[in-house]
Every structure is written in C-alpha cells, then in structure tokens.
Symmetry: C2
Subunit: 643 residues, 2 copies
Amino acid sequence: MKIENGWKVLLMDHFRVADDFWSSRMELVKNKMIPYQWLALNDQLLNTVPSHCIANFRIAAGLEEGKFEGYVFQDSDVAKWLEAVGYVLSWAKDEELEKTADEAIDLIGMAQQADGYLDTYYIINGLEKRWTNLQDHHELYCAGHMIEAGIAYYKGTGKRKLLDIVIRLADCIVDTFGPEEGKLHAYPGHEIIEMALVRLYEVTENENYLSLAKYFIDERGQQPLYFAEEQKRNNNEFFWKDSLFQFQYYQAGKPVREQRHAEGHAVRAMYLYSGIASVVKETQDTELLETIKALWEDVTNTQMYITGAVGSSEYGESFTFSYDLPNDEIYGETCAAIGLVFWARRMLEMELNSSYGDVMERALYNGCISGMSKDGTRFFYVNPLEIDPVACRKDQRKKHVAVERQRWFGCACCPPNLARMIASVGNYVCTYREQEIAVHLYIGGEANLPFCGMRMRVESSLPWGDTVAIQMEGEASEFTLDLRMPGWSSTTGISINGKEEKPMVHGGYAKICRKWEDGDKVILTFDMGVKRNYADPRVKADVGKTAITRGPLVYCLEEADNGKGIGRMQLPADSAFTVEPGIVEEGSKDLVTSGRQIALSEAPLYTFRRPDKGQDTRLRLIPYYLWNNRGIGEMEVWIREGV
Amino acid sequence: MKIENGWKVLLMDHFRVADDFWSSRMELVKNKMIPYQWLALNDQLLNTVPSHCIANFRIAAGLEEGKFEGYVFQDSDVAKWLEAVGYVLSWAKDEELEKTADEAIDLIGMAQQADGYLDTYYIINGLEKRWTNLQDHHELYCAGHMIEAGIAYYKGTGKRKLLDIVIRLADCIVDTFGPEEGKLHAYPGHEIIEMALVRLYEVTENENYLSLAKYFIDERGQQPLYFAEEQKRNNNEFFWKDSLFQFQYYQAGKPVREQRHAEGHAVRAMYLYSGIASVVKETQDTELLETIKALWEDVTNTQMYITGAVGSSEYGESFTFSYDLPNDEIYGETCAAIGLVFWARRMLEMELNSSYGDVMERALYNGCISGMSKDGTRFFYVNPLEIDPVACRKDQRKKHVAVERQRWFGCACCPPNLARMIASVGNYVCTYREQEIAVHLYIGGEANLPFCGMRMRVESSLPWGDTVAIQMEGEASEFTLDLRMPGWSSTTGISINGKEEKPMVHGGYAKICRKWEDGDKVILTFDMGVKRNYADPRVKADVGKTAITRGPLVYCLEEADNGKGIGRMQLPADSAFTVEPGIVEEGSKDLVTSGRQIALSEAPLYTFRRPDKGQDTRLRLIPYYLWNNRGIGEMEVWIREGV
C-alpha cells in the first residue's frame, strides 16, 4: 500500500464555482442561511429554543453577567458560522457580513484566556474544571471547529485575527496534551480537532500541530482507557453503560490501528477517519494507511446507504453492523454524510481512485443536500430512505424520523454544517500536483492552475444533462488532466477539440497528458441512462428491491406524485423510463415509468391466496434530495421489483 | 350485535386431557416447571437473581426480619405458581406438592392484614402508603393473580382456604374502590383484576365483584385522568412522558368505550380485553360488546403476527399501529400470546364463531409454546419471527431479542404464566350450554357432559395427523355437538358411525344435533396440506413473502437445517413440499422443499446487475414452536417467494 505524494486541494482561491446546480445553492447559503443563523446565534429568532451562543461569549468576555446556557458544544455554532462566512467571502464580497463577522471575532478574542484557552462553558463555570470531562464535554471539539473557522476566515479575507486566536488556542492544547510527563494522555470524546490540527499545520508549518493530531489518534483506545479512568477520577457519568457498543461509541474501545469496522456515533467516526486520513497523508504512516483503507472499505462497502447516508441506528446515532441498512429506522444524519465527503476528499489526496470520488459525489448530491429544503429555510437531521408518516407518529422506533424538515434545532449541528459544506463545495472539485490536475466533481467554474499560467474553464450540465466541457485558456503548458470516470456512467465519451479520444484510464481516472494550448477544449459525454441499482443480498431491507439512479442522483417515489400505499408499489423488471421535466425544482428531471400497485382487499390479515400482480399505475420518481418539498407524505427509495 | 346466552366453559373437572401433544407438556409443567419455580420462589436456585418472593411473605407475616426485595409485583409469582399447582392438582394427585402449596397458602394467610389487604410491598414498607401509586405499583395486579390462584386451587383441591383469603382481599378492594363518595375513583395500572373479579363472582355469586370489575372498566380513562391526578398528588413519576402512547400505555388515555385501536403495553391490553369480555358476558352490555368486538377486529386483523404473537415494539412492550408487524424487532411477549388465548375463549363464551377459536389455536400452538424449550427448562420472553444472532449482539434495536431461551428471568412473568396456561389447557377445549357442547380445540381427552349422562371421548392426532375421533358413551341423550371447522383446513370431512355427513355449518361450526347413542362415533378428517400464507400487503415486513403452515402450526427455516444466510433464501412459487419425520421432536413433522439462495459475490455494495435467481438448495422447515432447541442460529418464518 502506497501513498501518492504531492497532491493538494485546489482551494476556492484558485477555483471559482459557476454552476447551474451549485451556484444557486451557494447563494442560498449566503443570502438565507447565514443571515438566519446569525439571528439564531443572537437569540433573535421567534419560536425556537434560544441558542445563547453569542451571549455565552459576551459573558465569558466579561461584557455581561449571566450563566452559560445551551449545549456544552454551543461554541461550535459560532465557529461553524464563521467558517461558512469565511468560505462565502472567498467567492463573494459582502462588507456588511464581513463587518459582522469581524465583530464576532473581536468578541471571541475578548473571551479567550491569557493562556490561549477558549471554551465559554468552562470560562463561565470555572476554569479549574476544564479538561475534566474530555469524554463528553466537547472542549476539543469546539476548538477543532474554531480552528477550521480561523483558517477559512483567513483564506477568505486575508485577515489573521481569528487565525491568531486559534493558533494561541492550539498552542494551549499542545501544552496540555501529549505523551510527555505532566501532560494529559488523553483525546477528545468527539473528534474533529485531528483534521483541524493538520490543516493548521499546513497553514502554519508548525509541526507541533501535526504531532498532536497523530498523538490524539495513537492514544485513542489505549489501555488503561482514558475515559474509564476519567469517569472514576471525576465521577463522570457513562451514558452508554447499557449499550452494546460501550466505548466504541467514541471509537475509543480499542486502539485506532486495530479498528477495522466502523462503530459508534457516525459523525464522530467520519470526523476521526478524516483526521486519520489527514495524518496519514502528512506522515506517510503505512500502518495507519492500512487502517484507514480498511475502514473505508467497511463503511462504503457494507455500511453506507445508496444516498451516501451513514449511521443505521438512532441509538447513539450510530453504525450497527455490516449490511444492516434499514431504510425507515435509519439515522443517516446530514452531518455524517458531510463527514463522509470530508473523508473521501482526504482519501483522494492520497490516492487517485475514482471509488473515493464516486462516494464523495454520491454523498454530496444525495445524503447531504437532502438535509435542506429547496428554499434553504428548513432542515433534516435524519435522512430516511423510506417514510410512512403514520409510523413516525405511532412507533417510537421511528419517532426520530421527522416527517418534514424543521426550521431550526435545539442542537443546531446540521444546518450550519450544511452551510459550510455548500459554501465550500468549490474545495472538493479538483486536486493538483506538479503539472497534473485531477477533476473529481463535474461542477462548473474556473480554475487557475497553480503549476502553470493556464486557466481551466469547466461548463457542466450535470446532474441533469450529459455534457461537460473543459476549456484551457492562457499560455500553453504541458500537464496531465485526470478526469474521473464516474461509476454511474457505463460509457463516457471524451473528445479533444472535436476529435474522439480514448485516453488511458487508471484508478478510474482518464489521464490526458499533452501540451495544452489556449482554447483547447475537452468534451465529456456521460451515459445518463436511468439505472436500476441492486444492493448486496445481505442487506435484508433491500432484497428483492431496486433503487433508481440517473447520473449521480438517487431517485425516489413520493406520495405527492404517486398517492398513498407506496409500500405496495412494484416496478416490473421490464418497465422503461422516460425523462421528464422535474416538478419540484425548475430545471430538474423526473423519471416516469409504469408500475403496479397491489390492491387492498377485504381479505383477512393472513390468507392462503397469493396477492395478484396489482393494478397498473404510472409512477413518477423525483430526485431524492428534493423529497418533502411538497408537504408530508410517504416516500421510498428502494422499490420492490416485480416480474 | 347480540350475545349468545348460556355458554359456560367446560372446566377440567369435567374434561380430562389425554393427548399425545399436550399431556407430555402438562407433565413437564408438573414435573419440571413447578418444582423449579418453587426453588426460585425460595431463592434456592444458583446463578439467578434471587426472587425473594417467599421471603417477602415471611417478612410480611412477621416470621422474619428484612426488607422487601424484588419487583413491586413480586407477589404475583407465588400466585401464578399456586394457580398452576391448582390446575395440576385437578388432573394429578400429588400429596407432597399439595402439602407444599398448603404451607405457602398458610403463609399468605399470615401475611394478610385484618382488613383483608394483601400486598407484601406495602405491608413491609408501610401500609399508610398503600393505594398511592395505582399507576405503577401493581397492588391490584397482584390481587388479581391471587384471586385466580384462589379459584384454581379451590377447583383443583376443594380446599377453601386460599379462596377465603382472596374473598377477604376482594372485599377489601370493594370497600376501597368504586363510584361511592369516600372511595377511590381509580383503576389498576396493570389490568387483570377485572377478569379475576368476574371469575370470583361466578364462583361466589357475590355481585359486588362483578360491579367492581365493570366499574374499573368504566372509570378507566375518564377525565380528569386518575393517573395524572395521582402523579401530582403523590409526586409519582411518569415513566412514559416522552412516549408517543402516553397514558394509552395503560389503555387509560381515553374512556374504554371509546377505544377502537389496541395501544400500549400488549399484556396489559390482552388482560383488559379479557376482562371486558368477561364483564360483557355477565352484564349483556351491548355498547361494551361493540367496543370489544372492534378491538378484537383491530388486534386480530391488523396487529397480530401469524404466530398469534402480539406487541410489535420493545418500547413499552407495546402495540404500535395497524399492519406494523416487524418480524425481527418484535416484542411478541409469551405472556401477551397467552393473554390472547384468555381473550379468545371469553369471546367464544359470547358467540360461537370459529374466528375466535382459530386465533386461540394459532396463539396456543405457536406464539405461546414457542416461549418454552422442549424440555421445559428454558424460556423466551420475546418471540421473534426472524432472527439474525449477529443483529441481536450488534444492534441496540434488537438487543431485547434473546438469541436463546434463558433459564429464568429477573422479571419472571413468562415462565409461570406458561405453566398456568399449559396446566389449564383443558379449560380451553370445550364450552357448553343446555343440550349443546362446542369443541373449539381438537385436544384428546374425556369430557363428562354436564347437561346429560354421557361422556365424550376425543382422540386427536393433531397437530401432526389429520384425524380426530369423538366417541359418545353412556346413556343416550339428544343434544347438539358443535365442531369448529378450522380456517386452516380447506375441506373437513365428517363421518358419523362411518357414514359421511354434511352438517350445517354456522359461524364456522358444524352443528350436529341428534340423539346420541352409546358408542356413536364422529370422525373428523382435516386437510393437512401444506399452505402458503400471505399477509395483507400493508404489512411491509411481509410483502413478497410467504409463511408456511400445516394444520395449526406455523413453520420456520432454521440455520441448523439450512445453513447461514436465511435472509437470502427464496421459495419458488411452484416448489412442492414433502412431509418428513421431524428432526427436533419425536413424533413431529418437518417440511422439505426446494428453494434457492442468492449467492454472495465479490460485487460492491450497490451494483447495476440484477441478482441472479440463486443456487438451488433443499429447504427444511420445522414447526416454529420448536425453533432454538439446537443452539443459536438464524431463523425466519416469512420467506421471500421467488418465481
């Protein structure tokens, strides 16, 4: 197993998104979500649980009196907001927004302690208790988010103030944790700081941060178990004492290098795995590489929904076991799908393999953006692949599955996570190294290639149309263009300047190495045929069923189009699909086909009579991410296939 | 809607079971379960949580010092034991057992208070607190069980001591509860006393007991809600405050007469419905009859498993909603299936309709006795219709599904409930009224007909063979013999003295009215063909699947016979079955057929390739009640049907 060296992410300072599909969503983040969240952070929303986030910072800064309120990780909300703002400001000027953010940063600076410590929960409640409940109290989690914010804001605005704050915070953490005597031999209960520290290392070149990220990973799960000792020492509760996963809730039940199966809280897992990938890339640790590749295989080949959702159970918002993918009792948190995108891109930074890009695209276009209504004002935590609203109201097992997106949440992790994901989607499109650029996502925009004087202009009709055009501009240069051949496209045509080409495909990427001239144009033509997908037969929930995809998009049946009783629908094996203009979103495509629905009868609950094949019916499928934009109703991704 | 008057149960003092299938099970109760439970009640078992049940009575009686230990309903364990002993002594002499039971009854008498009150929890912890937590503290539940015990022991032995104890107890309850001023306008949190009081009324003809049973039903769920008021008054907790069912956990969220849908804790519901049926029968209350018939329809036609199990969810051990019948996350408590048997027979006492008998038989031969290992030493609480042991170990949602029967339980409700059910199975075979005897279950034995001088000798080869012979003996008499035509038998032949007859069938019962002579013999010949069953298509868990039955028995696939990957098995629509000698139990029958198993492949989790039809394989099905007698493994009742 080897790491391919030298890959870097083409960040948004070099890639400007201009895409029919994504630009409008980025604008939603800028114009709706960010202003809305700012009101939330300042307790200016009606009819929601107050966030108290800014108030906590004001109290911690000594500007007002009061108690800490909210979750122990409340600080992370302002961090995620600032991170999103940083991304937005990298592609849009907005002086008023920048001024607001600068003031928030000033406030954070005032709350920071002389030694760099920054967590309003303990600043307000007593610093003597800090670091006494690493298992559940999220200080390092909040720090991780703040570091991401500091970097994003610096990249987006060039302003160092928040970056300097998080450098002081990181230094405080370096002074507190590590293998040296007198330091805490500990690690966070909720991961994220690992990947944040590696990013801070990349920005500052301070190797302490990389070392500490690696230490957090290596120490995790070692015996004697830090969290167990900490519980005893500080009388901390163990919320999961009756659970099957025990300390694996935190991915801390055994040393990370021994873990081969994703367990426990899915968002934590995704963030840990992203951190592992970041550390492996920087340290070339081949043992840890083996771990992270095995975990990738486990998650994406046995525990991931077709939408890219992960986390099969509401209990602990967790993974369960291989091939356990219930569509209706799923957790499938929006944040976990986002975490899978983080992880996938980090894998791509080590190995140019389209399986990473395929998963990244799958999660992004399905399980992530399904978390948001099309107008950007309502959000899902949980992203089911099948819903019967009656069940969610009557069955405690499905109570966590909201039948419609909510305005805001008491635990507001998903909406701001979506905001930062969408605002930074340009960071996921390309990676590059010396004289080589790899295109992972076919999102339109303009790239300035860092290794030469050329620009690369991408025009994409995805996910609806079949064509992507890539035009080179500027002074001629020789380099390799790597184009991901998506798993969903059976045949992908490539032409260069109008001439069909058959470049070598390696690791799922077509590699075109040539001297590019100003005006050279590559046209990709994808197979946008409607595909029937089948799950591994060990997935009990999907046996005998098919899920429909077209391009990168998963489709679903919704009650609004197909009436009640979706569970009684069948898709005959030979039904053909037609592509029609989408009903839910302007410019989208729906799929129409003929199906059957088993009729209801007056027969008793159990009979000896085999149900007949059902009544012919016309089925309309809409893109999964667009479901629940027309009120409450049944929905299903996996459709029973008939003969 | 009308009640058919005059039906009575032919109790075991008039019906002696002699049956290949049931007699051995009754002997297991007598020789294994009852002695074993006696050790349990006396804390003489190793390696189990001590019961402390007898100890509580000794402390309450002032014979020793100590604290109350065990559940608040611990007293009911000795009551259920005594009830089972009473039944056993009605069909078997056992002086030593009777002596032991008499001593236990003496002890109970010593614990009883001067005013008749009897509950060791409050006798030990302070009588001033009695009746302050009717919602959760089971005083009336324990009383109900004790009343059942008193009646059973009186019927089995002729001894009145325990009967007199429970009469005093019932009088105490009559003095405490009722509509009169100064009495508590309340009702039990866990029902059972309703049906017990009606039985006590039948034995004593004291109408106070019937009135109170009716009062408990009528007061239940009236506003202001007693339990809510009680919580406020006594600072009682409300364990279900975050639940969807709220007070319907106790079937107390609305007046009983308004309830049309079974909700909440399934055992409580079955006991309440049995009590309602008992009250309706005695009071001819047609409004309440409508309620109970609607509830019967709801449960048996939308919320009952094919095994007769009820209770779809572990949360609250409860019903959920119509057609929600998950096979793997089921609760399906043994006690609830037993409760369904209680209820069904009470419906038969009001209306001779074979749908009640069919359900009674279904529950008895499948969902009840599946709770017990074939040697009578291990027990299930939860009776799944599908199990993957990996899931039970890895998925919190299935943690409650034990992968093998357990020796005994901390909450020991199911094993003694099974003991009393099996020991009294003779009470479920026939009902009678003036010059009419109805046979509901085809269990061998000898009936003394109370309305004439004849005996009726039943020889049954069920559930394995197809023939039942009924011979009349004694002085000739004219009466009607009603024979249930089971729903599972497509055609049932009837011959009288060798001559085929076609009697009128009414309400699913063949009615043979004639003057019976000594030696007259009726032979029933049932269709024992293997049947494929199909669930209503609204049962999502069973769509596209079939369950196999033969006679009254449900069959299943077990890993021990069929290997791993039961979920990937298919039963082609045209596969034929052969009946073979049973592997698990001497004399039983297995079913063998040809199936297919979808092969595993190296394909990724999701592919565009439709799975092939699978590899041919021989499938062996065993009777469901016999599963898990050969170690831990996969099992499935509902099998996917292929083409």
